[in-house]
């Protein structure tokens, strides 16, 4: 019985997947290249809207350089996550580790639609967003190794990457807890906006599994009430840990979940659709129209965490099918090849270069050292406090009178 239910669920997802992959296939057949450095891409079927009068454009252009940069970032993400998987299995990484491979187009598309002044906060699945927002492989992997060169001085670990220079407010270990914080960031952007100018936006990313946390609705209500430039970005990878959306949520159209809040569903495996959709959302929210719910239809290849093989609640065929029909990296490769921006050989050499560079960065991270022990008590308060209980007796303590003590009366030894 259970098995058949699970099959139905995966068939549903396959169907949904198929409809989106058709759009992707169409995209490739409709490529028209104007020059060697510019291409037009058809995004028909990549968007669905809710409570919106307008929609993102279904025809976009991208330059060769943009696509090459996108490919390099996404391939670096993929290699980094695969390396993390290996290092975890080799026991060089301890604790918790949630991998992003499969979802690379989401972070990359958002990055390419945003300005560095826009605030970004996300869930625990944050390695690749940290990389996108100013991090290096060495800093990310270093943090996982717990070394001082890690992004948070080795004190956070897998779920805790931050980058002050790049307005990245990090990963959060508590499911959904980043969303009210995101509303505060959006408020700051509104409060600090110059009159008459567009506001910077704040985006809070969370998964389909988090989408039913109560505090998300608290922040959605506040954001709508105060017209905050806030994007609720649901990375729908179809599973809340090990439970499929059909089983864990009474609503599977997450982009409609904000009720009166406008919503947008985007093919999250198509990086150009993500970029265009997020440009649209940024324009909408930054212009004072209030928040937007954005649902990214995506997929994670790995399990929820390292303790989850990812195959007990879905079958291998589903993963293989997604890889072969909707892989976000293959999509970018196809864009590059079909427009004759670069050829197979160049792709191969780029991949080789990135693989090597990721390996080198990991080696460098391994050479670093653990943070010193005094970091244990640093950064709890603004000024580190003296330890409250040390082993030394302070001067006001009267020492014991051994003449009278229990030990002096023949009990010692």
């Amino acid at each position: 019985m259970l098995h058949s239910v699970s099959l139905t669920a995966s068939r549903l997802i396959a169907a949904r997947t198929l409809s989106l992959s058709k759009a992707a296939a169409k995209t490739s057949s409709l490529f028209r290249s104007f020059s060697t450095s510019d291409g037009t891409f058809d995004l028909t079927g990549c968007f669905q809207t809710h409570n919106l009068d307008s929609a993102p454009s279904e025809s976009v252009t991208a330059t060769k350089q943009e696509l090459v940069d996108i490919f390099e970032l996404m391939y670096t993400m993929r290699r980094m996550e695969i390396t993390c998987d290996n290092e975890y299995k080799a026991r060089n990484i301890r604790g918790f580790c949630h991998l992003y491979d499969g979802q690379e187009a989401v972070a990359t598309g958002i990055l390419n639609a945003f300005e560095p002044e826009d605030s970004w906060i996300t869930s625990y699945r944050c390695h690749c967003i940290a990389l996108a927002r100013g991090g290096s492989v060495r800093q990310v992997v270093g943090e996982l190794f717990g070394v001082i060169d890690g992004m948070s001085r080795g004190k956070g670990g897998s779920m805790h990457f931050y980058n002050k220079k790049h307005n990245f407010f990090g990963g959060q270990g508590i499911v959904g807890a980043q969303v009210p914080v995101g509303a505060g960031l959006a408020f700051a952007n509104k409060y600090n906006a110059k009159p008459g100018e567009k506001m910077n936006v704040a985006i809070a990313c969370y998964g389909d599994g988090a989408a039913n946390q109560g505090q998300i609705w608290e922040s959605a209500n506040m954001s709508a009430l105060w017209k905050l430039p806030m994007i609720f970005c649901i990375e729908n990878n179809h599973y809340g840990m090990g439970t499929s959306i059909d089983r864990h949520s009474s609503i599977s159209d997450y982009y409609k979940m904000g009720n009166s809040i406008p919503g947008l569903r985007i093919d999250g495996m198509n990086v150009l659709a993500v970029r265009e959709g997020m440009r649209f959302a940024k324009e909408f929210c930054g212009s004072g129209n209030g928040p937007m719910y954005v649902e990214m239809m995506t997929y994670r290849y790995h399990g929820h965490s390292m303790s989850d093989p990812g195959t007990t609640y879905r079958n291998r065929e589903e993963i293989a099918f997604t890889r072969s029909t909707r892989d976000p990296l293959e999509f970018v490769k196809k864009c590059l090849l079909d427009n004759e921006f670069i050829d197979e050989a160049e792709i191969k050499s780029t991949e080789k270069r990135i693989r090597k560079s990721v390996q080198e960065e990991v080696m460098k991270a391994k050479e670093s050292t653990s943070p010193p022990l005094d970091e244990l008590t640093k950064h709890i308060f603004a000024t580190s406090l003296e330890p409250q209980c040390d082993s030394e007796y302070p001067p006001h303590i009267r020492m014991p009178n051994y003449e009278k003590s229990f030990w002096a009366n023949g009990h010692r030894n």
């Binding site: 605030s119 906060i121 890690g150 992004m151 948070s152 001085r153 080795g154 004190k155 956070g156 805790h160 931050y162 980058n163 002050k164 407010f169 990090g170 959060q172 270990g173 508590i174 807890a177 969303v179 009210p180 914080v181 995101g182 509303a183 505060g184 960031l185 959006a186 408020f187 700051a188 952007n189 409060y191 600090n192 704040a202 109560g214 505090q215 608290e218 922040s219 209500n221 506040m222 009430l225 105060w226 640093k378 950064h379 709890i380 308060f381 603004a382 406090l385 409250q388 209980c389 007796y393 302070p394 006001h396 303590i397 009267r398 020492m399 014991p400």
Partner: protein, 323 residues
Amino acid sequence: MNLFTAVNDAMRVALRTDETAIVFGEDVAFGGVFRCSHNLREEFGADRVFNTPLSENGIAGFAVGYAATGGTAIGEIQFADYIFPAFDQIVNELAKFRYRSGNQWNAGGVTLRAPCGAVGHGGHYHSQSPEAYLAHTPGIRVVMPRGPKAAKGLLLASIRSRDPVVFLEPKALYRAAVEDVPVGDYEIELGKAEILRPGEDVTVVGWGGQLRVLAKACALAAELGIDCELIDLQSILPWDFETVAASVSKTGKLVVSHEAPITCGFGAEVAATVADRCFWNLEAPIKRVCGYDTPFPLIYEKYYIPDELKNLEAIKTVVEAAK
């Protein structure tokens, strides 16, 4: 001034001197349920003083986000009893932001105010004192003033502190307590206890509204010839162990009292630390005079509260024990 006008005055000074400061919470734009934010919206505008929905976790998270950008967020949780829905944001986000980001981000600009304690008729959900739950959270400061003057100085210091603060205001004193309060800018250093009454025989420690009860108990004890040293902790986390230890080393006896239930109350922390660090100076077992381990009762409130007579009994007991 009484306590709510002192709180109002502190927030007014903060809003005047810090243009990033904002005040928000449930109904605060109308002055708040205890009138603490009275007239602030009129003076500083609806952009800086505004009402929130009834969403405590949202309020706390919102404060963290705003403070992370460098702003000063003064949030009000309407009653300390409602701080529990905000517990996730306080414990997991507010308190740990600095540490877990290796000092890149912090939420030091956050001050969450909440009225706490018994009020005579509050019942289960309008009378609790949650300081011990909060004090179990490294990364936040927990502060409770005993009266109007302390409220102004400590609140302004809390707002300006670069650490997040949960500021608990004894609601029974909002109108009852009247004191001369310095006008203009006035701060009291956080993390420091204050000796309210020097004495030689027994150290009596409390915080917040309980100080009024303890002052009465000390006066009654004086009539019996017992000279109590009364200490207001003021800051519950981090707390001023040195002042307490110096006093206990002198008197050899300790009575600690609070309204919250006795088991795992903050008095247990004070007693355990004093036992550890002042063991050889103690002349009598430490006494805790606290609320009972029951939900905060409505009709039994006068039996539940650790009043001056219960405290007087404890003071007499430790003096007897040391003879």
